[in-house]
């Protein structure tokens, strides 16, 4: 099982980081850390762009992050027309982890404040698809 069921539209299961999906299915949003230099990556990378080695370990993103940017997509691109409007956001989770993703539908635009606390969780989408999203803490 790889990325064939991830997000709204995807084309292939193949990805070095396919374990990310199995972790999502198990309820965990995971990042990778280079065992050699300690750099952390999200989206998870299996090859380290700093030291060019491929010695990675997975770790779960736990705890609360901070909302550092967002936008409300009123006009969705091809494949996402029916989703709009939706809110995209950027969250800072410490340890070098910045996560880009959607805000949960139960957070309304009027309730958003820059710097607000967020957590990231797997989310089931229609048609047996899966992704992750930001939720209130």
């Amino acid at each position: 099982m790889g990325f064939e069921n991830f997000g709204t539209v995807s084309f292939t299961a193949e990805a070095k980081a396919a374990d990310f999906i199995a972790y999502l299915e198990a309820g965990k949003v995971m990042a990778t850390r280079c065992r050699q230099c300690g750099a952390s990556y999200f989206p998870p990378k299996m090859d380290c762009p700093r030291c060019l080695l491929s010695d990675m370990e997975w770790f779960e993103i736990k705890g609360n992050g901070k909302l550092s940017s967002y936008t409300v997509v009123n006009y969705g691109p091809a494949g996402f027309e029916a989703d709009a409007p939706y809110i995209l956001a950027l969250g800072e989770f410490g340890d070098g982890i910045q996560i880009f993703g959607r805000l949960s539908r139960d957070i309304e635009e009027k309730d958003i404040e820059l710097g607000m606390s967020l957590m990231v969780s797997p989310v089931k989408l229609p048609d047996d698809r899966i992704a992750y999203e930001f939720r209130r803490t």
Partner: protein, 392 residues
């Protein structure tokens, strides 16, 4: 390493009307842009020895240009570099002349964007290694997030930063009223810009450039030949191109309020042009204002304003036609729209005329050095050009 400074001259340029040109195909536009350039340079198509054709959405291979101009078996390469494609097309023609392999080269950029739904395909890189997951991030929403991040980083309130965006929009629209080739030629007010329908928070309709069709062309040669053709040829001082390799998104500390590709291209261009103080030495600039936030960040990336101080310069009117560094004197992408591979050459067309003193009602008082800037792509993977031009 020998740079390009003063080794190539522009002797002719052309630019079509930009807009919804339903009655013209890309070959019609290429013919219109090129024949204006031929007339300007006083040459004929047969005088062109090599050509470069910039297009992303509009026709494959160099034969598009060869057939439009009926060129007789000369080499024509197609160039594609997203929003930077026009200036990169020009760059290739300049390098050919500088190398000595040809004396007269042609660079043409064209797009028919209105014929495509949404202007152009996204074809953006997936966020996960080779996963081919389609991203739900249209251009307006990407740049919108940079705008929100700018508020977060510097502590701007929504209404305050929207007013700065609106002042940029109003400036560009004002300049566009004096550009006969522009898609939009009407004044707007700060209130209209602030209250326009929101495309992607915080960017509204008037914080965004339009989608248009258009073409622009340049004829380049050596300064020696240029002297024999006209007095008011224009010299190329620098052309820098940078292509992101994902550095920004691989750096956990990336702040999303600057474009490293622009910073690097500006550094390289200033070195090549021997510019040490861009704010003082550059007299006018055409920058990539696909969205108001892009223009604002670009002021800072190009060294026109200190980090975080772009809004102060906007409030001071520094970048208006009467300011000390007018930016987008022709109205910019805001008024011309953005036919991807044509935009860079459209910008050079404006700088060329400003330097020649032929910019009509938009003519600036003192213009010795002009700059153009394009950027396109997604965070980490931007393609950027910075070019500098001057008088002989």
């Amino acid at each position: 390493m020998k740079g390009i400074k003063d080794r190539v001259a522009i002797v002719g340029m052309g630019c079509t009307q930009f807009g919804e040109l339903w009655d013209k195909n890309h070959r019609d536009l290429v013919v219109d842009a090129c024949y204006e350039a031929f007339e300007d340079a006083g040459i004929e198509p047969k005088d062109i020895q090599m050509a470069w054709y910039g297009s992303r959405e509009t026709g494959f291979t160099g034969t598009q240009l060869a057939s439009a101009l009926k060129l007789e078996y000369i080499p024509v390469s197609r160039v594609e570099n997203f929003c930077a494609g026009g200036t990169d097309t020009f760059r290739n023609a300049c390098y050919a002349v500088a190398s000595g392999v040809c004396d007269i080269a042609l660079a043409v950029g064209v797009e028919k964007c209105k014929d495509h739904s949404g202007g152009f395909n996204l074809d953006i890189l997936e966020p996960f290694d080779r996963s081919m997951v389609e991203w739900d991030l249209p251009p307006a929403s990407q740049f919108a997030q940079l705008a929100t991040r700018y508020m977060y980083h510097y502590g701007w309130k929504y209404e305050e930063l929207k007013r700065i965006f609106a002042m940029i929009d109003v400036k560009n629209h004002h300049n566009g009223t004096m550009s006969p080739n522009a898609q939009f030629r009407r004044e707007i007010t700060v209130e209209q810009a602030m209250n326009a329908p929101i495309i992607s928070h915080p960017l509204g309709l008037l914080d965004a450039c339009g989608v248009s069709d258009g073409s622009a062309a340049a004829i380049v040669t050596t300064p020696e030949i240029a002297k024999s053709m006209r007095k008011d040829y224009i010299l190329v001082k620098a052309i820098a191109l940078t292509n992101g390799a994902g550095q920004a998104i691989l750096q956990p500390e990336y702040d999303f309020i600057h474009f490293p590709e622009t910073v690097a291209a500006a550094r390289n261009a200033y070195k090549e042009a021997e510019i040490t103080n861009p704010r003082q030495e550059i007299d006018c600039a055409e920058v990539h204002d696909c969205f108001a936030i892009t223009e604002l960040i670009t002021y800072e990336d190009l060294g026109f304003s200190p980090r975080g101080k772009g809004p102060e310069d906007v409030e001071a009117g520094s970048f208006t036609l009467t300011g000390n560094l007018p930016v987008n004197s022709d109205g910019g992408l805001k008024c011309f729209g953005h036919p991807l591979s044509a935009s860079g050459l459209r910008m050079i067309y404006e700088i060329y005329h400003q330097l020649q003193g032929k910019a009509g009602p938009r003519q600036l008082k003192k213009v010795d050095i002009g700059l153009t800037h394009n950027i396109g792509g997604i965070c980490g993977f931007f393609n950027c050009t910075v070019a500098v031009f001057g008088k002989p």
